[in-house]
Symmetry: D2
């Protein structure tokens, strides 16, 4: 599909714009190969701009003399948009699909802390029906004094757990220099919320061939999030899963505010699958079950849940991890709701 | 239950606080009949305060010389807290209960615009299974040039619809001088999001005996919202239903961000029932169905949905009203999810 | 000035909009006496709408079938806009002007607590050079258990202080039923941040003839704030002073975030004077001096400062009040900066 | 200074906490070498924790059974705190100091686009009195289709401008693999707002010896910002300048909301110098002058201003660049205000 001929921008001139100022705008449009439809109102000139959004929208139109407003009509992202690809993307993680009408459950500890901790968690989530294991070997931490992860040793343990339980795994990457390393172990590479706008890292992930789980920046708009996905897609990697995990608001009763509306909004704008992280958005153990149910009812394409055999000893984010037994109970509720929604688990 | 003997506040003195400064704090505590437990650390004095939170917490402790921090332990609200009343409150609206394990559906037009519009909407929502009718006669509008409602004429039409369809109705009040008037017609009186902190109006509602539906201010924290409910309760009216309707965040893809986490958080803190307004939070028609489903899965005690026979002619908030046919379809989904959740409709 | 002939709205139709859908839009425009300039692009129709913004902008255009976006060109407020009145408004408070190139200092206690407290504060701020006294008799409080003000007794004390020190005073009104009472005493009536969108109260203030100080809602956009001013103006009262006092953000180090950019932005959009409240925005005593200096440099048309003879005994907001001696020192800095800015004090 | 003996945390147990739960907390405290002062209230146990904040605060105390709240007393950062170093840090950029009572003006184009553009801007800002040149060779852009910078060629041009005008320069780094390259050219290395929480990059910058200008993440709290500075400091690089550049709020009239209160707040918490970027916070040319004045009055230790010879041709952020002539005029105002504030320029 080509958008080249579509109006991608509308420029509204000021009431007092001069003919020369209008000419200046038209000249710059012509330099970026855009076509202009000029409409003379009673008092204002309005210019509908046809041309490649990626060239047209990056000019600073509102800095041009005589321009009152420049209103983008098309979104700044292209390949990840639903108009580019009307059908849902399905991303394969090992042999587990995400997207396309099912509900994929990802679970495990936030960080890999030891073989015992990982395996107890993995065994429990596998038994209860999770399809993908989570666990991080590299952690970006707000304080430099917090636990930063086991590094490659953690990845080795995750790979061992994959063999033992027959589950592919997802792990985070925080440094562009580690992409190759993480990709050599993980089935799905996660970009954490603090790195959503780390364009260097995104570009690197776009140039390798493992699928990418892109968490929403906790302060990013949906449009910025899809722009970030576009970075990965544009470099050649089309296997992208989005993950909503709560945004920063004025409310302090929860760590972040789960933006559940983002699920249907993104599904309207993009063909990429969207999963929800009910653990990190709420930041409190007792919110994991209700926010998981909410994700199923939206419906999201999956959920990703922190499960820890002993949360109060967790080195990272223990406050929100649920126990293996709680996870098993939650899976019962998930199954009932998924059935009511017609989603295959 | 009495909290008088409980620690309601902890005052942490600065490292360099003098004996005189500590004495000053203790003197003021004694003036408000609070007891102090003084703990001498290696470098700091920490004072645990026992006393009535409503007297203790309103003093400006952090303005006292030598005080580093004052940390409230108890919430500032009392009567609406779950520690005050452990069991769920059930509020009767006419003969329809809200709270206590069921799911109550409230639906109808945003504003009453005409007899025809109201009755077409009421007939449709009644047929599809709604239990309470919504419709406003007074509207607070951001622009002084927007439609402000039909006034008493609107209330008369709502009362007529109540007779015709056998449904109690909820209507908004915006002026303390209208409380008596609205209460003489409506079965449930709504406080809109812009009036949640209109304490004059809240106090007036606390002194009459119709139940109150208190919408969350779109910029209010959960604690402020429960404080607002406390205003009503304290004046003598204990029939209060809370309504989550989205909060203002940086995201502009939706009108507001539905804070679905608020449902389980409030249910932990308070015994009052909580319903969700999926129409005003998203502000877009296509979000009404997913956000309604999400509310059922939380689960909220009810949902309140805008239904308009011809949204594009609506004088208020047409962008988010769904059509009668869409509402009927949505009710099918609600029934399936409520069954999976074990909620009686 | 008439805007009737100006484009106030631009409607962008969807690519797949039908001729019938376009016709439907044009019909509704004609019903509200608006003229439409239709521009056919290569793929989309764009409609420039000429007509009264107050009628055109309130229709729910984005709910119309076939409409992609409706972009307002003119702001929704009219009388308070600078295009309506290019010259700065000057508001007289007693014989003290606000606006028009000077810097007016308003100071005094947050709430009137006693004759002694008020007079000690008033004497000090008068001696240091403040021109208008502040002090409230009615306080809207988040908790129903906090001090709510002395009521009419407080107004009497303020009137007595006015006589003694020869300073006009500003006081808050929180209830539409008290407008007449407060107006019978005060020289300037303040609408607090929680009541900025209390349209009932605004309309009442628009129908009396004392000037109004309209604080920005701590969660209101600049556009909503100017809409609130329009409510007052439209009812007939043109003496309006705006007051920036900080907005709610994610930052918790300060009570609110002073939006100092709002001063130049509002001055670009409106002819009304704007003062700054450095006390309530920061919520901390040590921020009062820097935020006052910042307001002078913006420059605002004035500042309003809490001064209390004994902040730690204050019944309201003691944490942010400065001492009389601190105020006198601050006035020295204010004088130096005002001189550098060419502002008359 | 040692904080080891100071209370760094206060743990408030629940009313119903068991002796075993209290014992569990005390055991874990002892494992991290912390000392506990246990205070038995009438109904609750409160534990004052003495120990290294960097070990104590990272445990998930609120996930421990029986714990109601854990309140940090000390901030999580240590070396950048003012209690660690009471005197202001002065950072030397080439031979230009930032901090210690002066006002340092940094100016130049946002991005280096060509030799001609850079030199025209540099010549103008040098003539008007700027002391440090700004200009970027690597740009992180929200859209992958926007101009990403000239790369090393840009750095070469900046070095040439340094020779010509005798001004040190600041340039951004976006990739940890480019740190060595950028450090080999620039006098001051900037971390952009999107990379403030890119801990990999921060650690790399901590291990080289050029000073670092750390912009505040537009969604970061002040505490997170100082934690980010701690990352750099802890790795060995103590030459850090902070830069406030606006935060994301609900207000859309400006690109971001300049949080001017952050200047005095940070100066209270930290010894590091703080400069303000009035260009990127407002995002609009007409706000640059007022926001610059505001920064001087705060006072910040410097300002950083975008100056472009032809903003409407700018490839990056043209909407906010001011013209050389406007900059010269602004410098006059800056000089007058700095004199009134007693700041050396």
């Amino acid at each position: 599909m080509s958008n080249a001929g579509d109006e991608s921008l509308i420029i509204v001139m000021r009431r007092d714009a001069t003919a020369e100022q209008i000419r200046h705008v038209l000249d710059r449009l012509s330099e970026v190969d855009a076509e202009a439809h000029v409409s003379e109102g009673a008092h204002r000139t309005v210019i509908g701009v046809l041309g490649d959004r990626t060239r047209v929208q990056q000019l600073p139109w509102e800095a041009f003399p005589g321009v009152e407003r420049a209103v983008p009509v098309l979104k700044p992202f292209k390949f990840v948009s639903r108009e580019f690809q009307p059908d849902d993307s399905v991303v394969m993680v090992g042999d587990v699909p995400i997207g396309g009408g099912g509900l994929t459950v990802i679970a495990g500890p936030c960080a890999v802390e030891s073989r015992d901790q990982l395996f107890r968690s993995a065994e429990a989530v596998h038994a209860a029906g999770a399809k993908i294991l989570r666990g991080d070997a590299f952690k970006p931490r707000t304080s430099p004094y917090s636990f930063q992860g086991l590094g490659e040793k953690g990845l080795e343990l995750l790979a061992e757990a994959r063999e033992t339980f027959g589950m592919p795994f997802v792990a985070e990457v925080v440094d562009p220099r580690h992409v190759e390393l993480v990709a050599s172990y993980a089935d799905l590479i996660r970009v954490g919320t603090r790195n959503m706008a780390n364009f260097t890292l995104l570009a690197e992930l776009g140039r390798q061939d493992k699928p990418v789980l892109l968490k929403r920046g906790f302060t990013a708009t949906i449009e910025e999030w899809l722009n970030a996905a576009e970075y990965v897609y544009k470099e050649g990697n089309h296997q992208i899963v989005l993950c909503e995990r709560g945004i920063r608001t004025f409310e302090t009763a929860t760590r972040n505010t789960l933006d559940i509306s983002a699920v249907p909004v993104v599904k309207g704008l993009s063909h990429l699958p969207v999963v929800v992280d009910p653990s990190h958005s709420g930041g409190r153990r007792e919110l994991v079950a209700p926010l998981t149910r909410v994700a199923v009812a939206a419906p999201a394409d999956g959920v990703m849940i922190d499960v820890h055999p002993a949360p109060e000893t967790a080195l990272v984010d223990g406050a929100q991890a649920i126990l293996p037994g709680e996870f098993a109970e939650l899976m019962e509720q998930v199954r009932a709701l998924a059935a009511a929604m017609g989603l295959e688990l």
